[in-house]
């Protein structure tokens, strides 16, 4: 059935290297949990059985930056936390991506004051912003799918 019928007994599929690499990257993207506030609860719910993010190859939330390639910043980042966030981002191996989850991580949200970084994009480059306060697990999963679409279009020379 399917691909076997088309290829016969050859056992060979032709495709471009870029597509294979990007397919591999999107389907085993390990997120680093960076739960800072209430958004982290929704992130946990997205991981748990009802929403089950492991359908997309993301069953492992790594607590170590060295084993992960996606950072989900869930919650407001205080100015004292910002250097820590940057250090963890720098410790992640390339290729790496960042999702700013929720209003606080995206733009400061309701906390327009001295203590909170006005958007985590001042500290690390952000790929996908997920709006909501906090966003529902569907929202986060949609953000992840959007990131997957983005990664699938990436060229090989980008990460050097």
């Amino acid at each position: 059935m399917g691909i076997e019928q088309k290829t016969g007994n050859l056992g060979i599929v032709t495709t471009s290297l870029e597509q294979v690499v990007n397919w591999a990257r999107t389907n085993s993207m390990w997120p680093m949990l960076f739960g800072l506030a209430c958004c982290a609860i929704e992130m946990m719910a997205a991981q748990a059985s009802n929403y089950d993010m492991s359908r997309f190859g993301m069953e492992l939330m790594r607590a170590s930056p060295r084993q992960s390639d996606l950072m989900i910043v869930a919650g407001r980042v205080s100015r004292k936390m910002a250097p820590v966030l940057r250090k963890l981002y720098d410790q992640m191996p390339d290729p790496k991506w960042v999702i700013a989850m929720g209003d606080c991580a995206s733009c400061g949200g309701v906390f327009n004051n001295y203590a909170i970084v006005q958007g985590v994009d001042e500290v690390v480059p952000v790929d996908v912003y997920v709006a909501g306060c906090p966003p529902r697990p569907e929202g986060l999963i949609h953000g992840v799918m959007t990131l997957h679409e983005k990664v699938k279009k990436e060229k090989l020379g980008k990460w050097k």
């Binding site: 004292k80 327009n112 004051n113 001295y114 006005q118 994009d121």
Partner: protein, 170 residues
């Protein structure tokens, strides 16, 4: 007022010239700053107020005399009584003697008051900021500290704010 507390208040009034205020059963002794430490020492050693529950400050800016109030909340385990001490501090860069030798837990309280209000404590063993980063400018809980941080974005000023915003470059 509680009978035991009444005795304490009268003693403080006659010995240290404390002004006694009572609101809904809460007793406050208002003292000049140079006599507050001695009064706290007497309260701890003679009247059994053996715990410092809280130490905080209030900013009454633009009033400058006094601009700040320091508030010490004392508690007695033996008598189950609470007592509040207040003192006024003038000017924009006030100093006060530390109460750390009397109540060791005042160490962090005084660091927090310094961090948030800029009141320095003489004789404190480790006068650093405790909440904000060490290189922070200003004291955030002062009334003259700016309230908002970033200008709110609308369609008419969107481009201008986007130009100024310090985005991270990799």
């Amino acid at each position: 007022m509680d009978e035991t507390l009444q005795i304490v208040a009268h003693a403080m009034q006659s010995r240290f010239g404390a002004e006694v205020l009572e609101t809904r059963g809460e007793v406050t002794l208002f003292l000049p700053p140079q006599r507050l430490i001695q009064a706290a020492k007497a309260l701890k050693e003679e009247f059994g107020f053996d715990m410092l529950m809280d130490l905080t400050a209030v900013d009454y800016w633009p009033q400058t005399k006094p601009r700040f109030h320091l508030v010490y909340q004392l508690y007695s385990f033996g008598k189950n009584l609470q007592l509040r001490l207040r003192t006024g501090l003038d000017g924009n860069a006030p100093t006060m003697d530390s109460i750390e030798t009397l109540y060791p837990n005042a160490n962090w309280f005084e660091r927090e008051v310094f961090d948030m209000f800029g009141i320095r404590f003489n004789g404190h063993s480790d006068m650093r900021r405790i909440i904000m980063p060490y290189d922070w400018q200003g004291h955030p809980l002062r009334k003259d500290y700016p309230l908002g941080y970033e200008e709110v974005e609308f369609t008419f000023n969107f481009d201008e704010i986007e130009r100024k915003k310090p985005y991270a470059k990799e």
